[in-house]
């Protein structure tokens, strides 16, 4: 009996730690989407597809052109940042005053364009970097270095965004635009430029996520489906546009997935997470940290 409990606890602890590690990356994805929604008031349905493009970027730079991972990562981040800015410039800006449903449909269209583009350009094969990071063993518990690295890098990325938003004039302007966009010109702020910078930041976060996820998952044209829906649920649960809420919700979801997966298959973890989401939508429809007005 005692022996059974010991093993059980170790598995539980391993699942909790893995849940925390997963939460870091999910929080990073949620932050990017929340940034775009909170500031520009549009939802990038195609957000996870930007991650997919970034993962392909990493694959080609590392596997085909032979760049070391550490050199390829910053290039991939810049590439997806540029893609984010381009998405805003070409698709969102012309639709800024359009009804939200049109914006949603437009970014939904971009999702299919990116998926189809990837299918045509890269094929439907599953590809990976061919980098195997070692596994860290503590007692009977095993944690992969790729997850630990992803967690630390995601936290550092979020910390960088936090200081950028708090300390710089541009960051403060981004927070201000989210609250009152009409009077920004009185402050001397060019709202168009702030939107473009915000979109590039959102893209950069997707690029960072791509660099971290490509170490753990194979890339294929539909890999966005693995992260896109869960990222949306996290953002909605945290309250769309609410950075702190999204951060908390990411860790709540990650724990449900990880602990749910402990008792049966990982897929059941996702089922539990989605069921939890539906229940929460009845209890707190405006999100975990809804602002009381």
């Amino acid at each position: 009996m005692q022996a059974f409990l010991d093993t059980f606890d170790i598995f539980l602890l391993e699942a909790v730690v893995n849940g925390i590690l997963l939460g870091g990356v999910l929080a990073l994805l949620a932050l990017g989407l929340n940034l775009i929604f909170g500031v520009i008031d549009v939802t990038w349905i195609c957000y996870a597809e930007l991650v997919m493009i970034g993962m392909y970027g990493m694959y080609y730079m590392v596997q085909v052109f032979g760049l070391p991972y550490w050199a390829a990562a910053p290039i991939a981040i810049l590439l997806v940042a540029a893609l984010g800015a381009l998405l805003h410039y070409l698709v969102i800006e012309p639709l800024l005053t359009a009804p939200p449903i049109n914006q949603l449909l437009a970014t939904g269209g971009v999702l299919f364009i990116l998926q189809s583009f990837a299918t045509v350009a890269f094929g439907i094969d599953f590809r990976n970097l061919g980098i195997r990071l070692p596994v860290l063993a503590i007692g009977d518990m095993h944690f992969s270095y790729s997850r630990l690295l992803a967690f630390v890098a995601a936290l550092l990325g979020m910390l960088a965004i936090y200081f950028f938003m708090k300390r710089t004039y541009t960051g403060t302007a981004i927070r201000a635009v989210a609250q009152d966009r009409q009077i920004m010109s009185l402050m001397g702020v060019d709202t168009k430029r702030i939107y473009l910078i915000t979109s590039a930041l959102g893209g950069a976060l997707a690029g960072l996520a791509a660099c971290l996820l490509v170490l753990q998952y194979d890339v294929h044209p539909f890999v966005g489906l693995s992260f896109g829906p869960i990222t949306f649920l996290i953002c909605v649960l945290g309250g769309l546009g609410n950075f702190v809420g999204g951060f908390i919700a990411a860790f709540v979801f990650a724990q449900i997935i990880s602990l749910g997966g402990l008792y049966s298959d990982l897929e059941w973890g996702y089922v539990l997470a989605f069921a939890f989401f539906i229940v929460m939508m009845f209890i707190r429809p405006a999100g975990l940290l809804a602002r009381r007005s």
Partner: protein, 234 residues
């Protein structure tokens, strides 16, 4: 300093201003009075570039305001304290003031300007890390004026600074306007509180239904019969 010549403006098909001619000379305080819906706020918005005139010219120290991009008008030395203050409620007082100093020229003078604003409003220094939305009405007005002063403007536009404030606080706000004036700043102020504003300004314009009906020094305006009857209740 500021010159408006036959300015028309409005929203969509609705015209709010008709052929406005208005001058503000350096160092003056000028008031614009008139009833609700006369176009006072529209007048302020057209000067600061929040809306664009459909006709006419606006110049600030000889520079064309209409041809200047809206977010560059603050660089001409025009700072606008909008109606209802329009602070960023979920930013701290510090961050609100920082937004007022966003332009590169103002950034360079940031600490100097901050000291100036805190000198003028010691209360803001006490409240600097508080969210602007949690301030009292009078404090919010101080913060809004402080934010505008952060850009080191030559001309300050004040849109109904007394609106929604308790009578005692209204008194304080007008005292403040006097103090700001004595520092050499030029002020254009829109008010419904005619009695009070005429004590503070040198000259005033009467705006009714989008046109200027009368203008003159404060004494002249106070002795005009229409103003006496309609606005002072004498």
């Amino acid at each position: 300093m500021l010159e408006l010549r036959s300015v028309d403006a409005g929203y969509g098909t609705f015209q709010a201003l008709f052929g406005i001619n208005l001058d503000v000379r350096a160092g003056e305080a000028v008031g614009v009075i008139g009833p609700n819906g006369a176009g006072k706020t529209t007048l302020m918005r057209v000067i600061s570039g929040l809306i664009r005139p459909t006709k006419g010219t606006i110049s600030m120290e000889g520079r064309d305001v209409v041809a200047t991009a809206a977010h560059r008008i603050v660089d001409l030395g025009i700072a606008h304290v909008p109606e209802n203050r329009r602070l960023f409620p979920r930013l701290t007082v510090d961050d609100n003031l920082k937004m007022g100093a966003y332009m590169p020229g103002a950034r360079a003078k940031y600490s100097e300007r901050l000291e100036f604003v805190f000198d003028l409003f010691p209360r803001m220094k006490e409240r600097r890390s508080q969210m602007a939305g949690t301030l009292s009405g009078g404090e919010q007005q101080m913060c809004a004026i402080g934010r505008a002063l952060m850009s080191d403007p030559k001309l300050l536009l004040l849109d109904e600074p007394s609106a929604g404030l308790a009578p005692v606080v209204v008194q304080q706000v007008f005292e403040l306007v006097k103090r700001i004036r004595s520092g050499g700043l030029t002020v254009l102020i829109v008010e419904q509180n005619v009695q009070q504003v005429l004590k503070v300004v040198d000259r005033a314009y009467l705006l009714e239904a989008g046109t200027i009906r009368a203008s003159g020094t404060s004494e002249e305006m106070l002795s005009t019969d229409t103003i006496k009857q309609a606005y002072l209740g004498v």
